[in-house]
């Protein structure tokens, strides 16, 4: 349960980080904040975290 709670908070933090990155991208699109390979890796991690925490929440709800 502690791990699932941590994943939920990680999802929140990564979402906040992406909001900041999106704002930065607005100032200079040439910096490739949203299109670089680093960003793609972060997006992959974010998606994985969200899926795992969401599935965990659904399973907990059915018990």
């Amino acid at each position: 349960m502690k791990f699932m709670e941590f994943l939920s908070h990680l999802a929140i933090c990564m979402a906040l980080a992406f909001i900041v990155i999106t704002i930065l991208n607005g100032f200079n699109p040439l910096m490739a904040f949203l299109t670089s390979n680093t960003t793609k890796v972060f997006i992959f991690i974010f998606c994985t975290v969200v899926i795992v925490s969401s599935v965990g929440a659904i399973v907990r709800g059915r018990k």
Partner: protein, 417 residues
């Protein structure tokens, strides 16, 4: 009240308490007092009990509220922890996105993959290099360049067309330069433009041949994240006048042609500006060009910052292919304008300072339309906006920043660095 208790009629009667009152609890119903002292005692007891009850209620309320306060502290602590963790994630992102590439790839030199072949000779500048008696060595200081005598018979079409702009020998003033090959005049505007206080510089440029229009990378080589002082770059390249370029050093894609050499030829999402060998300039939206076709058509220089500022009729655009922030921000701006083959302009607007507010993109586009340009393209701005003349900064940049490359006008036709 006092008169009633002091009545002699009741003064001798003893106080009668009900038999059921054995708990010592305060008397609820009114009891006749036989003396002032007894009444005072009862009154004080009643007040004390009431105070005790109120205190008890207060304690109970505090006990009820206490858990709520603890819960609030926990949430607040968790929010703070989440914010800190968000900061850590951003630091990790910045390290991998920004710092690590600069460390590992800074000195990686990127070589051109091919050279643009100009199969058809440029109509405006036929064999400029073979006819113009230009110096072959890049001078450290353009002021010291020897006067180049004009050879009437060998004049290029542009020299004939703009004959009144060129001079037989080099003439330099504080804001102008003229020679048989180059004419540059810088006008400074400082005052109210569109209702706001602005300072901008317009360099009106005529060249005898396209080879007088060059670009120069930091340290004379295209390196990932390469950067150099703007004045040093201007001096090393022999630039008469130079302006910052498009910040191409942080990308490994898109179409990139510099001085006729092709570095990348990939499609990209940004507007493109192309200076062709025949001296014409075209600006394209991402859907309007194919990189291979642009190169095959004789691209001499390409820029990929943008956006383009004027439409195909030379009118200022009102919506741009860029982000909201770039469009609406009041910032220092740099732009490249095109009138006709051989006739161009560099425009730099100061900003974020007391003497200049800076321009939003619509104002900058309107400025190029007012100047009479038919094509215009936005370059990197902010602290990157630097205009140099004779090796020294001419504008007042909003900060210091090393540049990755510059656009320049030079007497020489070869840049060795």
């Amino acid at each position: 009240m006092e008169g009633r208790h002091s009545s002699p009629k009741h003064s001798a009667a003893p106080v009668r308490r009900p038999a059921s009152n054995t708990t010592g609890a305060p008397e609820q119903r009114p009891v006749r007092a036989n003396s002032e002292d007894e009444y005072r005692v009862r009154h004080e007891t009643r007040v004390k009990i009431k105070a005790d009850q109120e205190a008890e209620n207060t304690d109970r309320a505090v006990q009820i509220r206490k858990p709520v306060k603890n819960r609030g502290d926990s949430v607040f602590r968790q929010v703070i922890l989440d914010i800190v963790m968000t900061g850590v994630i951003l630091v990790i992102f910045a390290f991998f996105h920004h710092v690590l590439p600069r460390i590992t790839e800074k000195n990686t030199v990127i070589r051109p993959v091919s050279t643009v072949n100009v199969t058809q000779p440029a109509t405006q500048t036929p064999e400029v290099t073979s006819k113009l008696p230009v110096t072959s060595d890049a001078p450290a200081d353009p002021v010291e360049t020897e006067p180049v005598p004009a050879v009437i018979d060998n004049r290029t079409e542009w020299q004939k067309k703009f004959a009144d702009k060129f001079s037989d020998e080099i003439v330099i003033t504080d804001n102008s330069y003229s020679s048989p090959n180059v004419s540059v005049t810088i006008d400074t505007f400082s005052g109210t433009y569109n209702g706001f206080y602005q300072t901008y510089y317009v360099a009106d440029i005529y060249v005898a041949g396209i080879e007088n229009f060059k670009t120069y990378f930091a340290n004379n080589q295209y390196t990932y994240y390469g950067a150099q002082d703007a004045e040093a770059m201007a001096r090393n390249s022999g630039a008469i006048i130079s302006m910052n370029g498009d910040y191409c050093n942080n990308q490994k894609s898109g179409i990139l042609v510099r001085n006729g050499e092709v570095y990348y030829d990939d499609p990209m999402e940004f507007d493109l500006c192309v200076l062709y060998y025949d001296g014409t300039v075209e600006t394209y939206s991402p859907s309007e060009y194919v990189p291979a076709d642009v190169i095959a058509a004789g691209a001499y220089q390409t820029w990929k910052f943008g956006p383009k500022l004027l439409d195909s009729n030379g009118k200022a655009m009102t919506s741009f292919n860029t982000t909201y922030v770039v469009e609406k921000e009041e910032a220092p701006r740099s732009g490249f304008g095109y009138y006709e083959p051989g006739h161009y302009c560099f425009v730099v607007a100061d900003g974020r300072q007391n003497h200049a507010r800076g321009m939003v993109l619509t104002e900058f586009a309107q400025l190029f339309e007012d100047l009479g340009c038919v094509r215009a393209y936005n370059m990197d701005g902010g602290a990157s906006s630097v205009l140099t003349f004779n090796g020294s900064k001419y504008n007042i940049p909003s900060g210091y920043r090393e540049l990755g490359e510059i656009l320049l006008i030079t007497e020489t036709t070869d840049i060795d660095g």
